[in-house]
Symmetry: C5
Subunit: 215 residues, 5 copies
C-alpha cells in the first residue's frame, strides 16, 4: 500500500522450495480467485494490471495446474487484466530443465493457454549459443510474448549482455528480473533498473547499459 | 481470431507427454466449462460447432475422465454442440494399445457416453489387415461415428491409402489428420487437405487423391 | 430413443475392467446428477423408472462410493425413482468375492443405504448349496429386495434352474440377466426373455421355462 | 418407519471393516448433509433428535474427518440436534487403541470439536483397573459427556458390572450398547434393555440389574 | 461461554500428533469458514477478535495449507478480524526445524500471505545466541509481527528470560504462551500471566517479572 502508483501484477500461486523433486513432484495451486483480485483492486485503489501463475510442466500434478492456468487466463481477460504464465518444465520426468526444445514446448503450451506472456528459463545446450537456440521458443509461442527468468545473480556485465541478447537477438518481449535487482543495495538496484530499462525500452547496447549502471 | 470463418471444435483437455506411463498413469482434466465455451462462442463470434475431450481408458485415473466426458457430452448436446471423444486405452494396465478388441471396447465405451464421434487409433495385429479388424470398432460404436487418429507422419501414398481403407473399407465416418498436414510446408499442406477431402467427401480413390496431392 | 416404451433404469456409474485389483483397487464414480436424470426424462420422454449405481465394498475407495450411493438413493426417492445398488465386495482386501457371509454383509449394507433393490453375486461355498446359503443375504437385506447378477453364460437348462432356485428357493425378488441374453441371437434372446419372465412372474418351473425357450 | 415414536440419532458416516489398517488407514466420510437430515425429519415425521459421526484419530485421513466432524457439530447445534462423536484412535500410528491417555486425548479432542457426547472405547491397561483409568477421559472431556462403546458380547453379569462401573465409578454419562442387545433373542434383548436402563437411569446396582435381566 | 469478556482468537485448523512425519507429512485443513466464525461471533456475543491457522511449510501438503491460509487472511481482513499464522517448517524435507534461516523464510512467507502476526519457533543454532539469530526472522517478516511459540515447559526464570530476550532484544511483537501457563496450578498460572504481561506490556526485566511470579 506504500506504492500506490506502481503497476502491479498479482502472482496467484507460490510455494516453498523445501520439498525437492526427488521427494515429490512440484505443485503450486491458486491462492486467490480472479474476482477477489478485482475486488482487491477496487478496494485498495492499487494499480493492478495483471496476474501471474506458475505451471510446472512435466510434474505429476501438471493437470491440476494446467486447468487453473486456463481458467486464470480466461477470467483475467474477461476482466481486462494481462496474464503472465511462468512455464517451468520440472519434475522427475524432466531431465534437462533448460533443454531448448523443452523450453520451446513450454512456450507453445503457454500459447495454447492463451496467455499474453510466458516467462521461461533461458535455454542452455553444450556447443550452442543460448541466444540462438532461444529463438525456437519465441517462434513456438506465436502471439504469446516471451520473457526470460533472470536466474541467479551474475556479474553485471554478463547479466546485461544476456538481457540484450534475449531481447534484441532472440526476440524476447522484455525481461523478468528479480534477484539481480533485489540482492543489491538500493542505489545499485535503482541503477540496475535504469540499465535494464535502457536495454528493454530504448534499444541500448549492453555497453551503454553498463555505463548507466556504473552511474 | 484470424480465421473467423473456420468451423472450430474446442478441445477441452490436454496434457504434455513428459510424464510417461512407466512413471504414472495418464490423466488430463477439463480446462473449461461448457458455459464458458458458449460465452466465448458468443463473445468472439467464432464458428464453434463442437467440443472434444480425451479419455485414457485403462488409466488408474479413468474414472475422473469418464465422468467429465459424460458431463461434457450431456451439456454439449443441451447447447447444440457436436462432441468428439478421443478414446485412447493407455496406462500400465494396457499392454497393446492397438489391440483390435481393446479399440472396439473403447469405441463401445464412447457409444455408452453418448458422443457423436469417437476418435480412436487404427488397430494393428500381426497377421491381420487393419482395415478388416477395424470393422469391429465401427460395429461396437453403434450410432456413434468413428474416426481414426492420423498417427505419425508416413509417406503420402501410404497415408492416403490407409485413409481410404478406413473410410471406404472399414466404415469410418471421416478422419482426424494432424501431423500429416501440420508437418508439411503450407503448399503441401493445402494439397494434402484437398487430397483428404477428395477421399472423405467425394469418394475418390487413393490414386486419385495422390494426383491431387501431387498437383 | 428407438424404444420409447421400454421402462429404463439409468446406471449412474461404470468403469472399464482394464485395471485389475492387483494393480489398484476398483473405483467407479457418478457420471450424472439426479436432476440431470430428471431433466433428461422429461426432455426425452423416455420411460425412466429408476437409477442404478455400483459400490465396490472392501475397495480402498469404498468411502467415496458409499457416500455417492447414499446421496443417489436419497435423491432418487425424493424424485419418485426406484433404486438398484450393485453391491460387489472387491479389492485387495477381498479374498473370496462369493463368500456367503460377505454377500450377506453387502446385502445388509444395501439395506442401510435404503435402496429398493440390491444386486449381488450368487454365493458359492464348497460343500454347500448356493440356493441355501443365499438365504442369509435375503434375510440380511431386510426390506431391500435382492436380485442376482446373471454371471457368465452357462447352458440354458443350468441357467434357468439356477434362476428358479434363486427366486423360489432362496427368496430373491427377481433377476438381473445380461450376458445370458445379449450373447445370444435375437430369436434365442427373445425366447430366453420369455423363459425368464415365466419363472419370475408366473412361477413356472425350470422345466416349463426350458420348453418356452426351446419354442 | 415402523417405529415412529422411537427417538433416533442419525449416524452420518460408516464403512465396512474389510480393509484392515495394515493395508490402508481407516477413513469414513459423511453420507448426508445436515439440511438433508432436517428435511428428512420433517418429511418422515420421525423423532430425530441427534446425529452421530465417527472420527478415526491417528489415521492418515484424520484431517478429512476432523473437518467434517467440526461442520456437523456446528450445523447440528444450529438446527437443535444433539451430537455424538465416535472418537476412535485407529491407524498404523496407533499401537494401543485402548491406552488410557490416548482415549483421554480422544475425549479431549471431542470437547474441542464442541460435541455434546463422545463415544470412546473403555480403556485397558495391565495392572490397572479400567474403571479408575477411565476417569482421565471423563476429566479431559470437560463439558462433553462421555459414553463407552459396548464392545464385543460378554457374559451378562460381567457386562452389567462393567456398565455400572463406567457410569457410577468413572463418571460416564450413559452407555452405547449394541451387540450385547442385538445378538440376543427378542425376549433377552428386552430384559437386557431394562437392566441397562435400571443401571443408567435408576442407579441400580449390577446385582439388581442382573435380577431384572433374569426376569 | 463462561468467559464472555475474554478476547478470543478462533483457531481454524488443528490435528492430533499421532501420525509422525516419518509415516506421512503433516497436514491440517480448515474446520470452519470465515462466515461461520462471523455468525458465531454475532450469535454467541463472544468477543472474537481474530482467527488463527497453522501452515506446515515443507510438507508435501504445503500447497493445500498455503491456499487456505491465503483465503483466511483475505476474508478475515474483509471482516475486520486480526490473523495469526502458525508457520512451522515440518515434514520429511525439513531436517532442522529450528534453523534460523528456515524460520526467517517461514516468517517471510507469512508476510507474503499478508497476515498480521506469524507465530514461529524460536531458532536454535549451535554456537549462536537464539536472541541474536532470531532477528533475521523479525526482519524477514517486514510489517507482519512475529511471536514465538512458548515451547515445552521450562524453569520459570529461564522462560521469563527467554521471553524478555525475544521481545526486547530480537524484536518480537509479543508471545504465545501455552503449556508454561496451562500446566501450572491456577494460582501459579495467574502469577505467570502477570509476569508475562509485565515483560510484554510494561517493559519489565526478567528479574522483575520473576518477582511478580513469586508473588
Amino acid at each position: 500500500m506504500s506504492y500506490p502508483g506502481v503497476p502491479y501484477l498479482v502472482k496467484l500461486n507460490s510455494k516453498s522450495h523445501l520439498v525437492k523433486t526427488a521427494q515429490d513432484d512440484p505443485v503450486s495451486l491458486q491462492w486467490f480467485e480472479l474476482d477477489q483480485v478485482m475486488d482487491f483492486k477496487e478496494n485498495s485503489g492499487l494499480n493492478i494490471l495483471g496476474v501471474g501463475y506458475t505451471v510446472y510442466l512435466g510434474s505429476e500434478y501438471e493437470t491440476d495446474m494446467l486447468l487453473q492456468a486456463a481458467q486464470i487466463v480466461y477470467n483475467a481477460h474477461l476482466n481486462g487484466l494481462v496474464t503472465v504464465l511462468w512455464m517451468y518444465p520440472r519434475g522427475k520426468a524432466v531431465k534437462e530443465e533448460k533443454d531448448p526444445h523443452l523450453i520451446a514446448g513450454a512456450a507453445g503450451t503457454a500459447a495454447c493457454l492463451g496467455t499474453d506472456f510466458a516467462k521461461v528459463n533461458y535455454p542452455k545446450k553444450e556447443g550452442a549459443e543460448s541466444k540462438e537456440i532461444f529463438k525456437e521458443a519465441i517462434l513456438a509461442a506465436g502471439r504469446t510474448k516471451v520473457v526470460c527468468a533472470g536466474g541467479s545473480s551474475e556479474t553485471v556485465p554478463a547479466f546485461l549482455q544476456q538481457l540484450h541478447d534475449q531481447i534484441h537477438v532472440s526476440g524476447a518481449a522484455g525481461n523478468a528480473t528479480g534477484r539481480n535487482i533485489h540482492q543489491k543495495s538500493l542505489s545499485e538496484a535503482i541503477r540496475m533498473c535504469n540499465a535494464v530499462y535502457a536495454i528493454t525500452m530504448e534499444d541500448a547496447s549492453a555497453e551503454e547499459a553498463l555505463k548507466i549502471y556504473n552511474g
